[in-house]
Amino acid sequence: MALRKRKTDVISADLASQIGESESMAVQLRRMARKNKLAVASAVFLVLLIFAAVFVPFLSPYDPVSGDASIRLQAPSAAHWLGTDEMGRDVLTRLLYGARISLAVGVVPTLVSMIIGVALGVIAGYAGGKTDYIIMRLADVMLAFPSLLLAMVIMYTLGDGVMNIFLALALVGWASVARVARSETISLKETEYVQAARSIGVRPARIILRHILPNCLPALIVLFTLNIPSAILSESSLSFLGVGVKLPNSSWGLMVNMGRQFLYNAPWISLAPSAAIMLVVLSCNFLGDGLRDALDPHLNNE
């Protein structure tokens, strides 16, 4: 007993230099907020945008579909903040209605493709051997195929509609995610803490869920924020090619295209949705970087 007491004393000295409590997630996020103002601004912008997109029927006096021909192609003014389009519809109103589809298209298929990709990639990386070979060759085939073309084929087969856009984009997006997840898994599999977990008899499923996935998260969060904009852009391309969102619905890609022919005399029709796409893409990236820093336990010390 006396021996143990002495040992404990030695250790307390050892501890004196270290920070005390481990912190809650909320505290961590708050500290990250102080350090990374850009990420916070991005988050605020995205939240406001989502809020506006949801409540646009109450916020805007204008109808998104039927316009007033007498006020077509008007420049931005107090009544129409972002001007009107070729059919006399308020551009801001259409922009916010379009945000519903564009944001959903950015998030939902990306999330689905992340889930498919991470599941397949982690299994391939952990199992190795034949399983790895089959899954990764499948991913190679997907990547070798032009993704937009594939999405178009899927859209032609399934027909129009937002749900089908989700499906098409989710099916073409998983392969690159699988590659990242696989390579992360392979390097994490060799870390000593995974070996240590194996050495106390932890089962593979639990090792994957508890030890590998959480440590993949920083890379996956960044990938997620990078894939959202590309999904938004893919939807724009599909809509442009006539297999995506159809009029009179609006999505940002569609709006950019419709405004193309008026680029000289009414540039705001195309520029407003273009700026919106750019801002959302930037915000996603800033937010992703901020989250990655905040969620990385190694960086919490400073």
Binding site: T8, V194, I200, G201, V202, P214
Partner: protein, 323 residues
């Protein structure tokens, strides 16, 4: 119950590489009686860690066990699948790794990581497991264990993390603890504390320990029996006293000579000349012959066998004791 906790007989394991089979462990036999601390000493790359990983069934690809038997408490381990090994790992045998900085998952509080082993192997409630983890933490000398329970690994020092690793390995009271260079990454004061802790725990619980080290001081302080390894083979084995008093193999002598002594007049520290041979192209004779100051013609042509010099003291050399 078997008198021997671990009985390794004629173990061979190695790597299948593109350039051929690398015999990292060649015909090694090793016994660990219950409650004993057995040491393996040798320089880097001599196969020490391969033995540890072979026992745990944690050989990294393309490593594989190619022959021999490993019996833990009478139960054969070679040939078991990963699934069959899972209930044995952690419960019957556990391992402490070299690098405490990377042996703990950075995103899970240390208490929860320790609890994992208990929940896996024992029918125990979460709160009871937590209490047990806290008891174990204080047992290995972690102060304020309730507070440490929720700490993340990066919030702990190297010494504390290694204590946590030991507590994690010991929590299901395994019969065998494999410590693969447990103190290499720590400074000397912490090293002494950790070694004393392992020794005390082994005495208290009757647990057997396989201690792997390249540090003769550590081995001398800790072990009952010592095996000296060179190029995948045991070259000398004896109880610790015999080995340090009357070592016979030239390689062991080389190791002993290269220890810094504080009580002798300062001199240039002799090193063993040359390097470890390439395991892909082992010499025809004794693997140590190219570096051996006493090598004779016979050493280049024939491989010596382990011979018993005195009861329990074995040596693999033609020229031992002839000086």
């Amino acid at each position: 119950m078997d008198e021997m906790t671990l009985k390794i007989e004629h173990l061979c394991s190695g790597f299948f590489t593109e350039r051929g089979y690398v015999p990292a462990v060649d015909d090694v036999s090793l016994l660990i009686p219950r409650g004993h601390v057995v040491g393996i000493v040798g320089e880097s790359g001599c196969g020490k860690s391969m033995i540890a990983r072979s026992v745990m069934g944690l050989l990294k690809y393309p490593g594989r066990i190619t022959g021999g038997s490993i019996r833990l408490d009478g139960r054969e381990l070679t040939g078991l699948t990963d699934r069959e090994l899972q209930p044995i790992r952690g419960r019957e045998m556990a391992m402490i790794f070299q690098e405490p900085m990377t042996s703990l998952n950075p995103v899970i509080p240390v208490g929860k990581q320790m609890r994992e082993a208990l929940l896996l192997h024992e029918d125990i409630s979460r709160s009871a497991a937590k209490a047990e983890v806290i008891r174990m933490l204080s047992h290995v000398g972690v102060s304020e264990p309730e507070k440490r329970y929720n700490a993340y690994p990066h919030e702990l020092s190297g010494g504390l993390r290694q204590r946590v690793m030991i507590a994690m390995a010991m929590i299901c009271k395994p019969k065998l603890l494999i410590a693969d260079e447990p103190t290499t990454a720590l400074d000397v004061t912490i090293e002494a504390q950790i070694l004393r802790l392992i020794r005390d725990l082994s005495r208290e619980t009757g647990m057997s320990v396989l201690l792997i080290s390249h540090n003769l001081g550590v081995i001398a302080q800790m072990c009952d029996t010592v095996y000296v390894m060179y190029a995948g083979k045991i070259v000398e084995q004896a109880d610790a006293l015999t080995l340090f008093d009357s070592y016979a193999h030239p390689y062991t002598r080389g190791l002993m000579d290269s220890v810094v002594r504080l009580d002798a007049t300062p001199r240039r520290l002799p090193a063993i000349g040359g390097v470890v041979p390439n395991l892909l192209r082992l010499p025809a004779g004794c693997a140590f012959a190219p570096r051996c100051p006493h090598a004779v013609e016979r050493c280049q042509a024939e491989r010596p066998a382990l011979e018993e010099l005195s009861p329990g003291h074995w040596c693999r050399c033609f020229e031992r004791g002839r000086e």
